[in-house]
């Protein structure tokens, strides 16, 4: 699924002009993926709702800063990510940095989407995703959820491209190792 053609169909121009219906359509399209992303990062339902709400308000107020209508999705997720980081800082937690090893991505490592597809128990795999450190989880969720490119994920998270590649690589490797250690069948039983 490619996000670009769909984004072209989204009524971003109308929303920019202040069309209320266009905003309803746009936000309806992204509300659940956005909530999923925020909830996976924050792990607190009420806070996640608050952050999604703040993201919506900011999006409506600052739509003028969006340069490319096709990039509406990554722009919206960028706002949400920024709010998550602010929330972490406010709540006294340091921004999770995770392991920022500059390992180059290994093409032989299977794509996590393939791993999920092979797994019989999706929930078991999600539990494995939960065990990832937040930065890797954010990159993985963005990669899986909206199929953002590495450049887009870099723009959303504000991390350099190399760091994003490294995080995705580690996330994939961690998933592979966990799947090898705990096969989905074993987890299901």
């Amino acid at each position: 699924m490619s996000s670009a053609p769909e984004s072209e169909l989204l009524p971003v121009a109308l929303a920019r002009a202040g069309d209320s219906d266009a905003w309803h359509r746009l936000l309806r399209r992204y509300q659940l993926p956005l909530f999923t992303f925020v909830q996976e990062l924050v792990r607190h339902e009420a806070t996640s709702f608050d952050l999604v709400q703040a993201t919506f308000v900011r999006a409506v107020r600052h739509i003028g800063t969006l340069r490319d209508d096709v990039r509406f999705g990554s722009w919206l997720f960028g706002i949400a990510h920024q709010l998550c980081v602010q929330h972490w800082r406010r709540s006294g937690r340091e921004q999770p940095l995770g392991d920022l090893l500059d390992a180059t991505p290994d093409d032989n490592v299977p794509d996590p989407r393939d791993l999920v597809l092979r797994a019989e128990q999706g929930e078991a795999l999600l539990a494995l995703v939960d065990a990832l450190p937040p930065p890797q989880r954010a990159v993985l969720v963005l990669h899986v959820l909206e199929e953002f490119s590495l450049e887009e994920i870099s723009g959303i998270t504000g991390a350099p491209l190399g760091t994003v590649k490294s995080r995705l690589h580690h996330a994939k490797r961690a998933l592979r190792e966990r799947l090898q250690l705990n096969p989905p069948d074993a987890l299901a039983t």
Binding site: M1, G18, P33, F49, F56, V60, L145, E147
Partner: protein, 140 residues
């Protein structure tokens, strides 16, 4: 078989009704902002539709006239270039100007302070008084 995206979304699918309410609330709250933005754009569109579109030939003629004026102005400027003087010429002109000012000042000076005429002999009051003084001195 569900895609990984579906699996992730299904995990939080229960939040969808609350998200609908949240979306409606947010958009109701920012409605004035949206209306303002929409009304501004509507006004601009109306101006374009009512003012520009019906009189398109007039606007095009005006635009053509402006273009011709701009071209003429540009060519006039390129023809009338500012003259370039050498340092000697400038010095000579300055000297000449200073000299002219000096001559003008000289010519203007007598006119500014006119000389007083000496009193004439037959004017009353002037001829009698000194003679009276002379008389008193001689009497003493």
């Amino acid at each position: 078989m569900p895609s990984p995206r579906d699996i992730l979304l299904a995990r939080h699918g229960a939040a969808e009704p609350r998200l609908d309410v949240l979306r409606a609330t947010v958009l109701a709250r920012v409605e004035p902002t949206l209306n303002r933005r929409a009304s501004l754009l509507t006004t601009l569109r109306a101006v374009w539709r009512e003012l520009v579109v019906p009189c398109r030939p007039v606007w095009m003629t005006l635009a053509a006239v402006w273009a011709v004026l701009l071209v003429l102005n540009g060519t006039g400027r390129s023809r009338g270039e500012a003259p370039v003087f050498s340092a000697n010429e400038i010095t000579a002109a300055m000297t000449q100007w200073v000299e002219r000012r000096r001559v003008l000042a000289e010519l203007a000076a007598p006119a500014a302070t006119p000389a007083r005429k000496p009193p004439e002999a037959g004017i009353p009051g002037h001829s009698h008084l000194p003679s009276v003084t002379a008389t008193t001195r001689s009497a003493c």
